[in-house]
């Protein structure tokens, strides 16, 4: 049995790939091509995702049709904004690896690095 988070991720992948409202049955069929999963398990996790705000749903006939609230890119953008925000609140994540360097600064450092690497022999630069 996969971890719960993995299953959430797999389900969201299917929903995003579908690009249109899907029923639990379709998601579960799709996932079953890779690993055996009970319909009820998929249903429970999709309800959780609905309550957590990842999915919306509406009833049409007897089944719920599920849809992603936001695109995957929206979430990626949100994470990166949080991670790269330098001010005013850097505490949540650490390292903005090297923020806001000027292109000429980068070029001069690159030249310095190449020069030193030439000095210290190819074995180091080749690593």
């Amino acid at each position: 049995m996969a971890r719960f988070g993995d299953l959430e991720a797999s389900i969201m992948d299917v929903v995003w790939a579908a690009g249109a409202p899907v029923r639990v049955r379709e998601v579960s069929d799709q996932l079953n091509q890779e690993r055996p999963l009970a319909f009820n398990t998929v249903q429970t996790v999709m309800e959780n995702l609905f309550h957590k705000g990842w999915l919306t749903r509406h009833k049409n006939g007897r089944a719920y049709w599920y849809e992603a609230v936001r695109t995957r890119d929206d979430y990626v953008g949100q994470l990166l904004n949080e991670a790269l925000a330098v001010a005013p609140d850097p505490a949540a994540t650490l390292v903005r690896l090297v923020g806001g360097m000027e292109p000429d600064e980068i070029a001069s450092l690159r030249a310095a690095l190449d020069a030193v690497q030439g000095h210290e022999g190819d074995e180091e630069s080749a690593r």
Binding site: G5, E8, A9, M12, K52, W54, R72, Y75, V76, G77, Q78, L79, L80, E82, A83, L84, V86, A87, D89, P90, A91, A92, T93, L94, V95, R96, L97, V98, G99, G100, M101, E102, P103, E105, I106, L109, R110, A112, L113, V116, Q117, E120, E124, S125, R127
Partner: protein, 310 residues
């Protein structure tokens, strides 16, 4: 009056320490060679300033502390406090001292608490989103799909995250070097050092020293993490990795904030400053020792001289 003199000395000391620290500490050339000692110095100086102001407040608020626990001494002490309270200016003094202590402690506790709680909340949420959208990558990292190169860690959740853009521009052992840097942040609990300095900056925005301390500690933890990473990985590899990510990610017209510090950091990897000379070690130790001694000593001596029972 003895008390007034000591309170004045403490407050003047706190102000001069803040001014001198803001002037001299950023110029310390030994700081990039001994980043951890430099961080400790900033923290000791910060504590010293705060402790002196608190000590001044306590001296104003309390005429004496019961140094001996014998009932007679305690009684004398209570009588002294009672006597002070009965004089109008005594009430003012006590009130001002208490207000000073409560304000300073309260501000720090409030800002630190809010920062830590907020950061924790955001990290939990960040981690939830990561669980759904990230893929396991090489070397135990999480990979999210984006062209913008970014590498960061999520303290408290012990996650290291790379974008596909970052993975693409890192070659050979560069990935290991960058991951070692992030692991050093996590292992050193650098987020707490940064959070503490940031909370003081937030608590007392009028004191330039705390703003400087926050910036410098933020830069110094990067240098410290580089040091740990280069114990296992080649320093030129790490420099190459940082440059590759910076070159791929430099957005046009970006604010230069922190750019110089980042450039200095990379230059330090390319041209290492070398082992500190004996003189520099002496200077480093002397600074650290002086600041630590003052940080505990100044307020403690002041409290001990004044707060004995008559």
């Amino acid at each position: 009056m003895m008390r007034a003199a000591i309170v004045t000395v403490l407050l003047v000391y706190a102000m001069s320490a803040a001014l001198a620290g803001a002037h001299w500490l950023p110029q310390a050339t030994w700081a990039p060679r001994a980043p951890r000692a430099a961080i400790a110095t900033w923290q000791a100086a910060t504590l010293s300033i705060v402790a002196s102001v608190l000590a001044a407040g306590v001296i104003l608020a309390v005429p004496c502390l019961p140094c001996s626990l014998t009932p007679a001494a305690f009684h004398t002490c209570l009588m002294a406090m009672w006597a002070q309270h009965w004089m109008p200016e005594g009430i003012l003094t006590t009130g001002f001292g208490a207000l000073l202590v409560v304000t300073v402690l309260g501000r720090i506790a409030w800002c630190l608490g809010a920062a830590l709680a907020g950061a924790h909340r955001r990290r939990v949420r960040h981690d939830e989103v990561l669980t759904v959208i990230a893929r396991p990558g090489p070397d135990g990292v999480q990979v999210i799909d984006d062209d913008q190169p970014a590498v960061y860690c999520l303290p408290g959740r012990r996650r290291i995250v790379l974008t596909t853009g970052a993975l693409r521009c890192l070659k050979g052992r560069q990935l290991e070097a960058v991951v070692a840097h992030e692991r050093a942040h996590l292992a050193g609990r650098h987020h707490l050092l940064v959070a503490f300095a940031g909370a003081l900056q937030h608590a007392f925005p009028v004191v330039p020293f705390f703003a400087l301390a926050a910036t410098q500690v933020g830069d110094l933890v990067e240098v410290a993490a580089d040091d740990v990473a280069t114990r296992r990985e080649n320093r030129l590899t790490l420099a190459g990795a940082l440059l590759a990510v910076a070159a791929a990610g430099a957005p046009a017209g970006a604010l230069g904030a922190g750019g110089t510090a980042a450039a200095e950091r990379i230059r330090r990897l390319i041209e290492p400053p070398g082992r500190p000379s004996r003189g520099q070690w002496a200077l480093t130790s002397l600074t650290l020792a002086t600041v630590s001694m003052l940080s505990v000593g100044a307020p403690a001596v002041a409290l001990l001289t004044i707060l004995h029972c008559p």
